[in-house]
Amino acid sequence: MLLHLFALLVAATTALLIFAGGLVTSTGSGLSVPDWPNTYGWFMLTFPLDKMVGGIFYEHSHRLVASLVGLLIVTQAAWLWKAEPRHWVRRLGYIAVAAVVTQGILGGITVLWFLPAQISIAHAGLAQLVFCLAVSIALFTSAGWRRGYAGGHTPLDGDRPLQTIAILTTVVVYAQIIAGATMRHTGAGLAIPDFPLVFGSVVPPYWTPAIAIHYAHRVGALVVSACVLGTAGHVLYHHLGRQELRRPSLLLLALLAMQITLGGLTVLSGKHYIINSLHVVTGALVLGTSLVLTLRTCRSRFAVTEAGARDVDTLRESNRAYESSGEWTPTPGVPGARV
């Protein structure tokens, strides 16, 4: 339980880090600290607080929060290594460490190479993957996941359409975030200055690379909306009684509405830095929620050694028995238990 709470903390802090990163770009502060990993020659953690002025406040704060997230993710991996019986969950913890280290290095390269668009987009894209890893670990360590969401429900194996559209939605949301990052880091955020129309029309009357990128992001928003509505609609129509699916579906719909509103306000406000940054982090929340819904719909596809776990020792013992015998005996009373 404590591990799950800690994983939730990691996920929440990662979302905060994405917001802080959004502030750096939105305020144009990406190069206000020209060196890395130091800050104006100081070791990062000893940089004087009274010198955190102007753009340095945003950039250095981003680095400090990133360091905290890195520390939390390393701690989480150590905790998983110590206490988590499922090897694939432990492995996720190690992958998260590798991802956050790579993310830090990408951030450094971004600064040292003067914010090249490709690296900056990769930095933004990997940030979302780190967040997805954090959300996944929090989900996999939750009591509900470990119980298999027991409640007299039939497994979702038969509802392949739901699993397909949920996976598609998550992939589309991630692609849309990459499109947004491309728009953001190529300076195309205001290439189309009106909203919801496009130069007073539905299709741009003329095209430039910036307009094309911006327009692709808007079209992407429509595709995401269709996918989210399809997934949530399916859940609410066919699985209304399943709390573990209904809740993320409703949250997904609310976040989608908020995200589209923030996107419009970002344009209409001339990219106000707070609105712009909220748009970035809400995109991450849409992705994380869609991922949770997707994983829950695919719950029975996972090896369910965790489902019958009473405690770590019991599970380790059953794992050893399974590995030595090559056969698996489902734990009695565990719904959907299979290899």
Binding site: T27, L31, S32, Y40, K51, V53, G108, L112, F114
Partner: protein, 255 residues
């Protein structure tokens, strides 16, 4: 698996290290042949091109720069104003970079030994617009009790971004390619901008409060003169001067 990851991290880190060495304050060595020591212009026949630059519309009120994000920049009783469009008496347009754009042929000129100074004072770059000869040393000084980053964002020259956390810190740079103009900014203080025109000859000037300029010591010939302003764009004129003659031209900008 882990070993491959470690190797990957090392490779990426080395790449980052190389970037740090290459992207900072290191000045590039030019591959061009060394500049001559003597000017090729015969002083006995040299002429001048003088002129005045005006703004023909109603000048806008200069905007006030809010420096609240850094308390070190705020001086009681002092109001900093935007230098983007500064118009003086009788429409005199300040901060226009004027230079010989064409007409010097293959003539090459010695690089001045004296350094130029771009100061950061009152959380503004001073001067706001200046010229430099290719290869000439440009010293960028922090005279403020706060930290700045000197961030040059040229197109053809090497970009650099150097931190100056302490007052009195100085960075010296030589541009290796002609470029009109090289923007300078400070990412800590987003209102700070400067423009440096880099040319491969000494015939350039920046208009002062009276909007006038003087390009001295030109050999007789026909020249294309360009006047560049950061918000009003650029204009060119052609002028011919004979031996010891002075050509007089005017530029007039509109909003």
């Amino acid at each position: 698996m882990m070993r491959r990851f470690q190797v990957g991290v090392v490779v990426v880190a080395l790449g980052a290290g190389a970037a740090a060495c290459g992207g900072g304050s290191a000045d590039d060595a030019t591959s061009a042949p060394p500049a001559p020591l003597m000017s090729p212009v015969d002083a006995a026949t040299a002429g001048n091109i003088i002129g005045r630059i005006t703004f023909e519309d109603t000048p806008p009120q200069p905007g006030v720069i809010l420096m609240d994000s850094d308390p070190n920049c705020v001086e009681p009783g002092v109001t900093a104003t935007d230098e983007t469009l500064v118009v003086g008496a009788a429409g005199a347009l300040r901060n226009v970079f004027v230079y010989v754009k064409d007409g010097l042929g293959d003539l090459r000129f010695p690089i001045p030994s004296e350094s130029l100074l771009l100061d950061q004072t009152g959380c503004l770059y001073a001067p706001h617009v200046m010229g430099a000869q290719m290869g000439q040393s440009l010293e960028i000084l922090n005279s403020d009790p706060t930290l700045h980053n000197v961030h040059a964002v040229p197109v053809t020259n090497q970009e650099f971004n150097t931190g100056q956390p302490l007052p009195g810190m100085k960075h010296t740079h030589q541009f290796t390619t002609s470029e009109v103009m090289v923007p300078f900014k400070c990412d800590v203080h987003p209102w700070m901008f400067a423009w440096v025109g880099v040319v491969d000859h000494p015939f350039f000037a920046v208009t002062g409060a009276d909007g006038s300029f003087n390009l001295e010591g030109l050999p007789p010939g026909t020249y294309t003169i360009e006047a560049w302003h950061e918000s009003l764009g650029a204009q060119t004129q052609t002028v011919t001067i004979g031996e010891q003659e002075t050509g007089d031209i005017t530029f007039s900008f509109q909003a």
